[in-house]
């Protein structure tokens, strides 16, 4: 619901919000002299301060501390930091039990985070339609129309949380990982409890996929074109280019699907990527070094995870991937709304991986930790729910962190989000007014990427999304705030 105030003299529309997000999203749409959309920019607050926050900490503390970074994916930061600190601890390969415990936690995290995104954030747009009244276009409207969806949403989320609690000791602030390994294995009691439910979870993910496909098939043109454009993609992939979310080599492909680079080790990321700073945004703009600033941007996240891999090594997800790729007619799928379809495929894959792990006796192994010769630097990459996440640390001889560089999924998608918002503005802006419809469509585009806003600082009193329309001289024509 928006509260609109109109100022007659300045043609400025202001909506006063009271919300609880620290970092608000801000969209600026710039018109040219002809009154057409020239470009749109999506700004969000980033957490550069966090990198300084880590400096001076002992390296073994970092996997726990980094959970403070994000309220939605603390587990992803926990695991990525742990992998980086394995390197610092001189450990190149943790034990099978440690590796599988971490994987179980990771796939549980991706499952539950993707479920939150799809059911809570995406399904109202997709299942009820972009044009549905705002009062109805929410999870409650979805439950009204599709009563089972509420159950799937809550219980898939809850199952993922139980996986995290079973592996990390607790649902919140889990402490599974230490440099070189893990603190615990999986108890037989936890294993058996999770085994009882995993079949149902896989089934519900499959039903969610079918429900989503019914939307796509009813809106093929919209699905293919909304906020969409050809792009490059980047993701981890495993051996033989199989889908791999926890560990692997970095692969980037261009819009035609040709490889830009692959098998890139995390430690070599700076040979392939550059992080650029631009004056108008707190967020960095990483791009592929060989392609340069203008051409080197790319997309990460579920769509990239599906586009970059050659196959998925779990049967239901692989069947779903083939079905999905068919809409690319032999090429990659560039539909921005395809993020949601890809997200459900990833959920199915996660559930299948979890099922496999729950029948792997290595999870009850007792060899949890490996030690090694300390090193001064560690870099790690995982595929977090929103895409590629990189942690890079330098550590002094006393074990204190001296430097940290984090490239989070939202940063990787920075340029792509700007382009999606620009596409929406060009397609849907009519005249010089920010209508409710335009605001809704901008939100739909942003929801596909589900950007991380300032990671976990949430306090009453701030604004979540501000859209400003500027003329060619930079004068404000209109502003609208979504409460």
């Amino acid at each position: 619901m928006s509260d609109v105030q109109v100022s007659q003299g300045s043609r400025k529309i202001v909506i006063d919000p009271v919300t609880r997000v620290e970092g608000h999203g801000k969209v600026t749409i710039r018109l040219n002299d002809a009154g057409e959309v020239e470009q749109a920019r999506f700004h969000i607050v980033e957490f550069r301060g966090f990198e300084r926050f880590i400096q001076g900490r002992m390296y073994w503390e970092v996997p726990v501390i980094v959970q403070r970074l994000c309220g939605i994916c603390p587990v992803s930061h926990h695991l990525c930091a742990a992998k980086a600190m394995d390197i610092v601890a001189g450990v190149d390969q943790v034990t099978p039990t440690a590796d599988k415990m971490r994987r179980l936690m990771h796939y549980g995290q991706v499952l539950q985070s993707n479920a939150l995104n799809f059911f809570h954030l995406a399904s109202p747009d997709l299942l009820l339609g972009f044009e549905a009244p705002v009062a109805q276009r929410n999870i409650f409207g979805v439950i009204e129309a599709f009563p089972e969806v509420g159950k799937w949403a809550i219980l898939i989320r809850k199952f993922g949380q139980e996986v995290i609690a079973a592996t990390g000791g607790r649902r919140i602030h889990p402490r599974l990982c230490i440099p070189g390994g893990v603190n615990q294995n999986l108890s037989v009691e936890h294993r058996d409890a999770l085994r009882r439910d995993i079949g149902q979870i896989i089934d519900w993910c499959g039903q969610a996929l079918e429900l989503h496909k019914s939307f796509v098939h009813a809106h093929e043109e919209l699905h293919a074109t909304f906020a969409s454009f050809p792009s490059s993609y980047m993701s981890l992939v495993g051996a033989d280019r199989r889908m791999e979310l926890y560990d692997g080599g970095l692969r980037a492909i261009n819009a035609e699907g040709d490889t830009i680079f692959e098998d890139v080790r995390p430690a070599d990321y700076r040979d392939y990527m550059i992080e650029e700073v631009r004056s108008w945004s707190y967020m960095k703009f990483p791009h592929i070094r060989s392609l340069g600033r203008e051409e080197g941007w790319y997309r990460v996240g579920p769509l990239a995870q599906i586009n970059c891999c050659a196959f998925i090594d779990t049967p239901l997800a692989e069947a779903a991937r083939r079905d999905f790729m068919a809409i690319g007619h032999g090429g990659r799928v560039h539909a921005t709304l395809g993020y949601h379809w890809a997200r459900i495929i990833t959920m199915i894959h996660c559930a299948e991986v979890i099922q496999g792990l729950l029948f792997d006796d290595d999870l009850q192994g007792t060899n949890l930790l490996v030690t090694g010769q300390r090193r001064p630097e560690g870099v790690a990459i995982i595929e977090a729910p929103r895409g590629t996440l990189l942690h890079h640390y330098t550590v002094d001889d006393d074990g204190q962190v001296t430097g940290a560089n984090l490239i989070v999924s939202t940063t990787n998608n920075n340029e792509a989000m700007n382009r999606s918002v620009t596409k929406v503005a060009k397609d849907y802006l009519s005249g010089r007014e920010i209508t409710e419809g335009l605001l809704n469509h901008i939100e739909v585009a942003i929801r596909a990427y589900d950007p991380c806003l300032s990671c976990a600082t949430h306090a009453l009193g701030d604004m979540p999304l501000i859209v400003t329309l500027e003329d060619a001289q930079g004068g404000i024509v209109a502003t609208r705030v979504k409460e």
């Binding site: 919300t19 609880r20 997000v21 620290e22 999203g25 301060g49 966090f50 300084r52 926050f53 501390i65 403070r68 970074l69 994000c70 309220g71 939605i72 603390p74 985070s113 939150l116 995104n117 059911f119 809570h120 954030l121 109202p124 705002v134 009062a135 276009r137 929410n138 999870i139 409650f140 409207g141 439950i143 509420g150 159950k151 809550i154 219980l155 989320r157 809850k158 199952f159 949380q161 919140i172 009882r196 439910d197 149902q200 979870i201 939100e443 942003i446 929801r447 589900d450 950007p451 991380c452 806003l453 976990a456 600082t457 949430h458 306090a459 009453l460 009193g461 701030d462 979540p464 999304l465």
Partner: protein, 177 residues
């Protein structure tokens, strides 16, 4: 087998209407849910308040904390008669303010924001349960990456906890059937 009622805490089943003959009068079950990030100074006021209530060890009072709210919190919300959401406030009254909450459908552009009213609405829609709910907004001042609440906010927390403990006791005196 997974089902919504089974996903709720054990005492939730006891709260389901069965028959008047088997109903028993009991003390209200209170949930204090503090949320925010303790790694960002005064944003940790919510979790600190939850910890303060938990330390009291009162029967039928549950304290939970998290970085933010999420949809599955509807399960815990539905299992209580009175829910206090506790959050840090960047603006507004000091030391704290209290607002009565009612279920409301909301829709955001990011999964990093879910409002307490929306969780209440989910509890209502999925479980048919609408506990009395309040938002305790404790005024904070600094939100940088420092893991410590500022002294001024600490004073606000102390005041808020004093009031909250009285309000919880008062609520528990209103026995429910």
């Amino acid at each position: 087998m997974l089902d919504l009622a089974a996903a709720a805490p054990a005492d939730y089943a006891a709260s389901m209407p069965i028959s008047l003959a088997t109903q028993q009068r009991r003390q209200a079950r209170v949930l204090v849910f503090g949320y925010g990030n303790p790694g960002r100074q005064d944003d940790g006021l919510g979790p600190a308040a939850a910890a303060g209530i938990e330390a009291l060890g009162w029967p039928d009072v549950t304290a939970m904390d998290n970085y933010q709210l999420s949809i599955e919190d509807a399960v815990d919300i539905a299992a209580h008669d009175v829910v206090w959401f506790v959050d840090a406030a960047r603006v507004g009254a000091a030391p704290f303010s209290v607002t009565r909450l009612t279920p409301a459908a909301t829709y955001e552009f990011t999964s990093h924001l879910i409002r307490p009213e929306a969780i209440l609405a989910l509890a209502d829609r999925c479980y048919g349960r609408t506990p009395k709910a309040f938002l305790l907004a404790i005024r904070g001042y600094e939100f940088a990456f420092i893991e410590a609440i500022t002294p001024q906010a600490e004073q606000n927390l102390k005041s808020a906890l004093g009031a909250l403990s009285i309000l919880i006791r008062t609520a528990q005196m209103e026995v429910v059937s």
